[in-house]
Symmetry: D2
């Protein structure tokens, strides 16, 4: 297994970005010294997104992703999303969605000899990263075959129509306006995953399959139930799971592996 | 000498940030093995800022900063500025100026046992980082005693009054508006280092001394000459140097060491 | 919390070494932006040693050490032991024991402003790292107040008197001879932790307290029981725990936290 | 350009090793945002070895290797050699030569899609790394087409026949015995690059071409002249250069680029 830290000049973000990766390229046996590692190429890939206020280290530090990477023989790439909700930000010329959904996939496929097939490519995340997985998975159906979305921060309907006095304890109107654009129009804008899904269906794309999980005591449970109904009504292939739990690593560690088993 | 990579939860940016550091804490002699390193505490510190499109690696990869750190026995901290011009961005709730000028100084002083005196603390940078060094050096005169500004991107007067059709080959109106706020008011706003200097003088602060260098063929030479006249007219202690050269690492490598010698 | 990667010139190993660290120096609250992190200095410290074939990443990747570091407010340092059993190797002029037990403690205490008291300093490890924790904890009683040893590879009596035909599936005679010296004399040599304990008692040192845990199905259980009897017969303050389990991360993750609770 | 840190489980060293890399996989233009990076695959590769007491950071910190990597469009891999002289050490079961000359080449070729041809593969180093480049270049002629050896520590004839009282200010008899084996037989042993060259010629291999450079005031100048005569007398294709200088980075920075130009 390789633990890799990558820093490269991103065109989509117009600056150098940091990505961490785990690539299960070898198996070191106790019993004998073989200098030739065992490689299986091309590999499947998992793009794994962190939550609000985190960075590329979160999954490494708080989950057993290294173990899962080896167990399921899948390369894992963890970028830093910088509170962007993994959305393009035209105002600041920082195209996070293009970075996650297009550039990073292209970069890592060539750099690490990954499978070029969307059916071998998974996007997953928790909270803000769950939003990012859903958004970018459906925005780039030719790149991703599967989406795993845990406790997703599907907050579009919570922030719509808010005015400048809004602050929900996490962030203020200013931040939401910066991230999602005009909040009066956000529901119908291309920052809303529902719009992305409908647009993608209209274009006749083969849509990725979706796995959603959320804790019944999570403060985002209703938002996840709503989106579940939304994808159901649009005939998106999906699995929806609820379990006891709140918005924490215990829940995410409990549901990441079933999500992977569903996807692989 | 220690090469250190730090990732910590920044309050000012509301997320985990990456900083690289070189700390000349020991001298390993060939002649004998001594397990007790030689420490000199508290240490002087240099905060070293990269240019537009770069990150915390730039100075490490393209300059001889490791050698200079050892030669002048000074701890060097290199943060990532992410095309922010090291300015607070209220709209996105990302306070880069507070991060560079206040939080990072406080964090590193306690974490690494640095000198608490502004006279032992230098802020320096190139291009966008030169702008950031000037801006934050004068905004936080109690934290920094010296500023080294190389080929500084003092572009306020270039972007003022621009409208939405503006694009100067580097970035567009949208980006400048995002970064500097309303361009019609930018000259009189607190994003203009001149305003910061004047405000700081008014408050009766002891101002840091400034070292400026710019290449005579640099596309930013006139902007640097203007700011030189500005600080001159405001009786800021400073040294201004011009030399043959353009906007490249040859120039920055030529003038960083004289800047350090001036500062130390 | 800070995740830190340190590379510094070690005198004890005569080359640059890599250490990873987690330092719980701040708490970032959701509710408000405070640029001044909360520091508690001087901090307690835990030196955490990996097993055979591992490196400084193991504890980061396979345990919840980041969570524990924050929960118990203790700085954690993870060096790379390179199959050395954390013993001095005079033949290769690589003094791993001095590195772990003396230099790294001195280096990190000054670099990160740690507590200078042995009662605030813990050494811990698993398997080969459990051996290293016991060996260096008792060799440097003035540096360490507590030892946590999980599934320790206390193999001195397994390798004594072996000849050149020996190979136990893990490594050969050659490796053991290289690491532990003359196997005919190893039991009475200063590579045997028992000798270190007895020497330290003779010198009148206040000995660190010891916490040992081993799985009842671990292939090293008898070796751990023997050493338990040894410390018992020498009146070393210690806690000895057995639990269901084998030589794996499930066991180590189960017993690290109780070990820390015992130590703190 | 990508700066990459790799930590992977080496079979040859039976533990996790750290390698740094620079891979010039993209060119980020100022003028436009293109999300699709420009890749040229398969790439040429340079394995770049540090000197005694260094590690994988040395070339990054003290040379302009990042600039050269981009300029000549070549992937650069910098492993840590840990005072091993890049030789197999049978006694400690740590096979550094196999690691450098075989495993790392195989690992990086598959991991990063490098050219499989020896003519596209260069091994280079300074001082101890120059020794390692020569030794492993000639030991693995099917892997490397070109060798660049700067100020090489070709010390076999300096340490032969030394006894236990030997210490040359750098290291003692014990270390040399550990690293090179029996010093009475070292000249005729497979730790001597001359023996490796002669063996490889006997086997009928197509030998890599060699570029050697050494400063006229370097303490290793005579050793380099001797080896130059040796390869001359064995009809090895080579270029030998002397220049003013000592054993320092000024010299290595002056001769690395001409070496690369010769090789490419």
């Amino acid at each position: 297994m390789s633990l890799i830290q990558i820093e490269y000049a991103s065109k989509a973000l117009k600056r150098t970005v940091q990505v961490k990766a785990i690539i299960p390229n070898d198996v070191m046996g106790f019993e004998e010294r073989k200098t030739q590692p065992v490689y299986k190429r091309p590999m499947k890939a998992l793009y794994l997104l962190h939550g609000y206020m985190g960075n590329c280290n979160e999954w490494l530090l708080y989950s057993n992703i290294a173990e899962l990477s080896i167990k399921y023989n899948i390369a894992v790439f963890m970028p830093s999303g910088e509170n962007s909700f993994y959305l393009n930000n035209e105002a600041m010329e920082a195209y996070y969605s293009d970075f996650i959904g297009e550039e990073l996939v292209a970069y890592t496929r060539v750099m690490f000899g990954l499978s070029m097939k969307n059916e071998d490519t998974i996007i997953a995340g928790l909270s803000m990263g769950g939003f990012g997985a859903i958004y970018n998975g459906f925005r780039f159906p030719n790149h991703f075959g599967k989406i795993i979305a845990l406790s997703s921060a599907l907050i579009i309907h919570d922030i719509k129509d808010k005015d400048e006095t809004f602050h929900n304890g996490v962030a203020s109107y200013s931040y939401y306006h910066h991230t999602f654009g005009d909040l009066e129009r956000v529901v119908k804008s291309d920052k809303n995953p529902e719009i992305i899904v409908e647009k993608s269906i209209m274009e006749g794309n083969v849509m990725p399959a979706l796995y959603m999980a959320c804790g019944t005591s999570d403060f985002l449970i209703e938002q996840n139930r709503s989106f579940h109904k939304f994808v159901q009504s649009h005939d998106i292939e999906h699995t929806y799971v609820e379990g006891e739990g709140v918005h924490d690593w215990r829940f995410w560690n409990q549901y990441l592996e079933p999500g992977l088993q569903w996807a692989l």
